[in-house]
Symmetry: C2
């Protein structure tokens, strides 16, 4: 495994994940434009400096009856005419796949400045239809067709598998939900920043917190979200010039220090069958994290100051805790009980609020995670700042643990 | 513009584009499996040697109600569990975008052997519904919604624009159609290899050759096609070892010598307005070709022995003729009349039969073009062989001239 050449993260822009762009009668082009123009403004980059654009999106074909999504990047600014563009998809990991593709082109020396844009407009349809569309991230025919809200059920099964192998108490899932909601209150772009949730409420079941599928209640779920996030990635050459004109030290600019990328069999039952004799329930997710740490030259999870992980449901964060190595396999509950994952804890997870708190516009999530990593490292995360953060790990997952991508973004 | 590091093309496999996989009651996984296993067999590569997979697909979300398409690569062989996968989309240029992404990762030193897989299963719906789905490659809301068969109309407008600027006779479009059908008869994988078509028929209009939209008749169109194509791409390091065990010289293995990639505004009318004072109707397409030649160190079109171009309609090939520089802008008809584009002519176009003759399973087309380039250079193209071919150019287009990708594949 070779060392990763340097890809610098200059910054970007996140739209307010609380907005409903359909209610505002706006096309997703408006969302793209705001996030790209916002990214240019916040980084002091001129549109004409962008050399290539990579778009992450899961399923605008279904939600918006529109494909060819890379090309819509051009609508953000007249200067973009002629720009090379492409769209990348791996269900809920689409944003990270776009980052990987952009990074590869920079590492290959093809371009010096790329804009990655993740977006999803999901509030175009009612929840039942949207739930059905999300089923195409699983093997639709086998795991979703005719099933109401297939994904909560699949991630409920992840919880069941933990329960079977190691035991799992729902109160620990509720605590994870509470931490995410609590952090989200500190994030001015979080979808749920004004929503009511505490541990007692998350532990309850009934009219105020109904079961969606299996052991998954409303409080265990990320919500349907509209949003777009831009991220400017640069070669060392561009970053040097940019640092000079911004009057900052090159060493202070976060870069992608390491990455991991693996795919498990599509069907959840195939995953579980494959991992039967493995101490990790989702070994390919574990390998993804290990690869990212290895490439970053980091020994283990204590080498990062915080994690932005994929908590599409509380069970996926429960899985992430032991797969990141915060605890031994099956002992994620210990980290929850000890408060390790809280803001201010030993291994803070999702200072932003994560998918449950900040929101989950599917194709944007991986990009949002890396932008939040950038905010932490540049001390611009405001009220959800992790003091002195130098290195942040991300984990972005598509399907029921199918595609996994992890980054270590950091300085030093 | 830096020189492209070396990406070798080891071979691959195309399914028979004449097949209807829905009638065979087969899931697209069967198509993926056949093309990947066929590619492994024809290159003598073991499944365990593949390090990464890149999938090109336009709109399985619509045609097959399935997303997360990279992950389905794993279904082709049990050895693929854990493999990094991703899916890339740029409408009808999706296949070439997948090749660009795979090539970037090899150039970056991330992997030594990638399998690119382009596929589309389109015969799942009736032609009217399929035509509507294809409309999502344009700006659906503005250019396709409520319009029957929007794409023939858009490429009819391309013909109209040529007519307005330079004059255009439909007999030259008919001749282009005839050449593609004629070449396809020599290609055992071509969809139309047994279909009836001659220049007289292509010139006629009426019950046997109805108008589909604008000046576009049935004979001007590529057809709805099912198909999958795999392509093995390797670093120099892997190619050296592979050459040794195959007993061939490294120098005899085709490589991607150059590439171009640009995007024009999505709406066709915006493209035409932008190019009003340009001698090329689609200047970003021209730039894409120029970039590929420049990176390959080739002066002009006479530096390649044949072209595999994007003839979704005869007008797009008519455009390609002058944009490749075979004639001055607006004079493509001269090359047609002089027989230059025929097999055996000075600048053979689409020896395979192209999209009109060989077929156009959207996401597979760019990969099929590069596989056909490989066949030509390795003298394995059978009856459609261009004698002594050393360098082949491709041009793959998404939307109405929106995303363009060109490759020069060659030896020496």
């Amino acid at each position: 495994m070779s060392n990763t050449p340097e890809v610098y993260v200059l910054g970007g822009y996140q739209t307010d994940f609380g907005r409903n762009w359909t209610k505002e009668a706006k096309h997703f082009v408006a969302m793209i434009r705001e996030s790209v123009q916002g990214g240019l403004a916040s980084t002091g980059i001129d549109a004409s400096e962008i050399e290539v654009a990579h778009v992450g999106n899961f399923a605008a074909e279904l939600y918006c009856k529109q494909g060819h999504l890379g090309a819509f990047f051009l609508e953000a600014d007249p200067a973009f005419s002629g720009l090379p563009t492409s769209r990348h998809e791996a269900a809920c990991a689409s944003g990270s796949i776009a980052i990987l593709a952009a990074g590869a082109e920079i590492e290959a020396g093809r371009y010096d400045l790329a804009c990655v844009l993740g977006f999803e407009q999901m509030k175009t349809v009612n929840p039942a239809v949207g739930g059905d569309f999300l089923g195409t991230a699983a093997w639709y025919e086998h795991e979703a067709q005719g099933i109401e809200f297939p994904f909560p059920k699949l991630f409920g099964k992840l919880g069941d598998e933990y329960d079977k192998r190691y035991g799992l108490k729902d109160e620990h899932l509720a605590a994870i939900s509470q931490v995410n909601y609590s952090n989200a209150r500190l994030n001015p772009n979080a979808q749920t920043r004004t929503w009511y949730m505490n541990e007692h409420h998350a532990c309850s079941t009934g009219d105020n917190n109904p079961i969606v599928g299996g052991r998954i209640k409303i409080s265990d779920c990320s919500q349907v979200t509209d949003g777009a996030v831009s991220l400017m990635l640069a070669s060392r050459k561009f970053a040097e010039g940019w640092a000079e004109r911004r009057g900052v030290a090159l060493e202070s600019i976060p870069r992608i220090k390491g990455w991991g990328h693996h795919t498990a069999p599509v069907r959840f039952d195939d995953k579980v069958a494959e991992s039967r004799n493995n101490k990790y329930v989702l070994p390919h997710v574990r390998q993804t994290v290990v690869d990212a740490f290895h490439r970053a030259g980091i020994a283990d999870v204590n080498g990062v100051d915080a994690i932005e992980t994929h908590d599409c449901f509380t069970t996926s964060e429960y899985m992430a805790i032991d797969h990141f190595g915060i605890t031994e396999p099956g002992e994620s509950w210990k980290a929850v009980e000890e408060g390790k994952i809280e803001l201010g804890g030993a291994n803070p997870i999702n200072p932003s609020g994560g998918l449950i708190g900040a929101g989950h516009p599917v194709g944007a999530t991986g990009v949002r995670q890396c932008l939040d990593a950038h905010k932490q490292i540049t001390e611009t995360a405001g009220d959800y700042q992790v003091a002195g953060a130098k290195n942040i790990a991300t984990l972005n997952i598509g399907g029921s643990g199918t595609t996994s991508v992890s980054f270590v973004v950091g300085v030093g």
